[in-house]
Symmetry: C2
Subunit: 359 residues, 2 copies
């Protein structure tokens, strides 16, 4: 409607450029002039100041002028006055590499939005120079704070410049204690939940195919496996833990070793290994879950939900990590400096573990 009015008189010629005429953006002053008041008044009306005393009639006139001109406040000017912007920076090392980062972004954005903040995202793909530039850019835009995130859970150095801002590590943590606020997934609890899915169905002899790659997840998930067994009164047998590279090929390659263990169930370090293992088991004529039950870890949708049979697994709470990071940054959640906050990894049960209905 508005742009219609603005464009009236342009005739019915072909569209030259698919955008409205916005050579000179409308400013507060113009609104003020049209409404016949001062800019101060317009500002007061716009921001609905509590103790501003504005006559209803005036408020009305201003509102109309705003609508008529299609006025948009200039956030830059606003920020200049207030000192800090309504931006939260998010530097990620792998938005493109992995589907996970998307969830962190999503969670962070929803939470940020809720508090009136917008996300300024920089994807570094691990490039340190880019990272430095990205942080510099964020500092120049006077972000409220920065979320520094990694695509897989790991220790990380805190870049020097990051310390110039308020920041929270997301899905990573600083090895030096007391150095940074951080939020990470609770690997141990996740590993325990994964194992418990199997225990609950009566499995007693459960193998764990761990990763060969050192990582907090490697230790945590193993720890969880042990805790679960202990909780079920089953002694931990190190022979039941084998290791392989954490991808499809690794899982496939572990098949033979696994079969030697004569277990009725196996818990894989991640869904990709489980996917490879599916192939290996199938080639051996074994059926899931009847011959052997399988659980994974990560809940990587494209894989887990669509394997045949669908894979029981444990979710990495990326969405929650992002959201919690924002809350910690804004001081809404407790954020200890001495240890990372842990977010639960919820179990997701699917058909790769038989559901024995109680007799």
């Amino acid at each position: 409607m508005i742009s219609q009015e603005k464009n009236s008189g342009n005739g019915a010629g072909p569209v030259i450029h698919a955008r409205a005429d916005r050579a000179h953006p409308v400013t507060l002053r113009e609104v003020a002039e049209l409404a016949g008041v001062s800019t101060a008044t317009v500002s007061l009306v716009i921001n609905k100041k509590k103790n501003a005393r504005i006559a209803d009639e005036t408020r009305q006139r201003v509102t109309e002028a705003i609508a008529k001109l299609g006025y948009r406040p200039n956030a830059m000017a606003k920020t200049l006055v207030s000192g800090t912007s309504k931006f939260i920076g998010l530097v990620a090392d792998g938005v493109a590499t992995t589907p996970f980062a998307g969830q962190i972004i999503h969670g962070a954005q929803d939470e940020a939005w809720k508090h009136g903040y917008a996300l300024l995202i920089a994807n570094t793909e691990g490039n340190k120079d880019l990272e430095k530039d990205a942080i510099a850019m964020m500092l120049e835009y006077k972000v409220r704070g920065i979320l520094y995130s990694t695509w897989f859970h790991r220790p990380t150095d805190v870049p020097e410049t990051l310390r110039e801002a308020d920041f929270v590590l997301v899905n990573c943590f600083s090895p030096e204690a007391g150095a940074a606020r951080a939020v990470v997934p609770d690997e141990a609890q996740g590993g325990q939940s994964a194992t418990e899915i199997l225990l609950r169905e009566g499995h007693r002899r459960i193998a764990f195919i761990n990763t060969t790659t050192p990582a907090p997840a490697k230790d945590g998930r193993l720890q969880g496996y042990k805790s679960a067994l202990e909780g079920a009164g089953i002694p931990f047998d190190p022979n039941l833990v084998i290791e392989a590279y954490p991808d499809q090929e690794g899982g496939y390659g572990a098949t033979d070793d696994l079969l030697k263990l004569k277990v009725s169930a196996v818990y894989c370090y991640n869904d990709r290994m489980a996917m490879g293992l599916y192939d290996g088991l199938r080639e051996n004529g074994l059926s899931i879950p009847d011959d052997i039950a399988v659980v994974g870890f990560d809940n990587q949708e494209v894989i887990a939900a669509h394997l045949r049979p669908p894979l029981s697994t444990v979710s990495l709470p990326h969405y929650e990590l992002g959201a919690a990071g924002v809350r910690m940054l804004l001081g809404l959640d407790a954020a200890p400096l001495d240890s990372a906050v842990k977010i639960a990894c919820p179990a997701v049960e699917r058909a790769s573990v038989a559901v024995h209905s109680p007799a």
Copy 2:
């Protein structure tokens, strides 16, 4: 080093807060005072103005003052003066839903960065209200322009407010001609490439499992299949085209129909269908690629690269879409209003199609 200096004298007590002291950000004026010059001079030094005449000695002093104070220009103030910001907005409907969006972001960011722009990303997950807020936010931050992207190639309505900005549609297009600049994948060429992978290996009777869901991709990929056959002098046989829902289950379910066709090769609408088809073929005791060759479409890494055997497919050029979108926005690439620019979908050959070395 710098922050060391600032903190010297703080004693060796425990770290209270993991961030530098930045209560009052350093301004241009402070730098000017320390250097004993005017703010104008500092500004000139910082921006390396061509025709600014600054004594080396002065330049030196200013540079030192900047370093010493750890000065960061205030981008907001800069923007206020210049009128438009160095932001490009990117609204996406599915950063979290799909791994693809990450590539669009990545491409857009790399290209934007190259030209001194930062990306202001908003993930709407399809929510129209959110979308409107997001666009409003971008307009208030006076973005240079907006990239409006969808996670799968489709027609889309252009939101009214989007027209207030300079914009480009990415991975989508407006059904009304001449209404918007747009960049999309070249589905037809992709479909042709996919089919040609099979033709090149001597297959003559090739099935196409298309999707049941209407989409530009459905038509384009079929079109490409036809062109490829035509190019090879093979008449198009509609009976060789079957349709199924475009996911693993759909591909799996299409197995029986496919087998009836007695083809030596099949081209699937996407990788997920191919993944399901793998299961179906395997259950029928058929081996890939010896009994039947398979190609997919999308090049969804987690799937295609890691199936057994790895899947030959065609890449959706998301990275390029993002990059091209930015270039079109900035006027670096031609950007016709009357039809979308098409980006090639490159073939990715893997082991699901036998490679017959020439005798």
